[in-house]
Amino acid sequence: MLLFVPSLIHCTYMERDVVEAPDLHRLIDTSHEGKWVAISSDHQRLIAANDDLISLEREVREKAAIFFRVLPSDLGYAPRTIAQRSV
């Protein structure tokens, strides 16, 4: 019986402490690529999309909205080791 205790604790820990990711596929698609979008703080609604972030921010009334840019889906993202060149 004692053998089950650690796994029960682990399950409880996992359920309580893992933050669920937003389901962006419900909210945006390829038509939003290259645009700025605002979604609700509970990740359930797309509030608005715009080519310009400043215009979008003026349009959105919800203070807790989440803003982000939808990057092109046909481009892979390569984390870069960045070389800096002083100007």
Partner: protein
Amino acid sequence: MKFEYTKSLTRDSKGHFVSRPLLELELLGKERILTVFGLVDSGADMSLVNARYAELLGIVLDELPTKDFVGISDSRVHTYFAEVPIRIKYFDKILYLPVAFADSPNVDILLGQEEFFDAYRIRFEKDHSVFELQASRSYWSHEL
């Protein structure tokens, strides 16, 4: 605290959606607080933020020191350096993060090595589709 990887719109070589370690955070500006997503990027030397956010935060880019960054394509990206206070969702403390504001359509927000990876212990568990973030005791004890 553990976070699920977020599925992006991009597909990998097998046709599956690429999952990325995204965090919800606040950019604390003089004029307003903006809630955004940041990609945790262990391959970036420092944090990069799209320059369009600067205007909303009340940061005047022309007054800031500049540097050019070179990515894998060798094309140069002009950036402006500033320190931006941020707060990660579910974490109380404010981190004063050095960022390079980049005027590039292919950058949203990247959370890179400098300061961010000092302030938080980050463990990627891609095989379980989660990553873990823990405030670094040594970093924050210096901050007190």
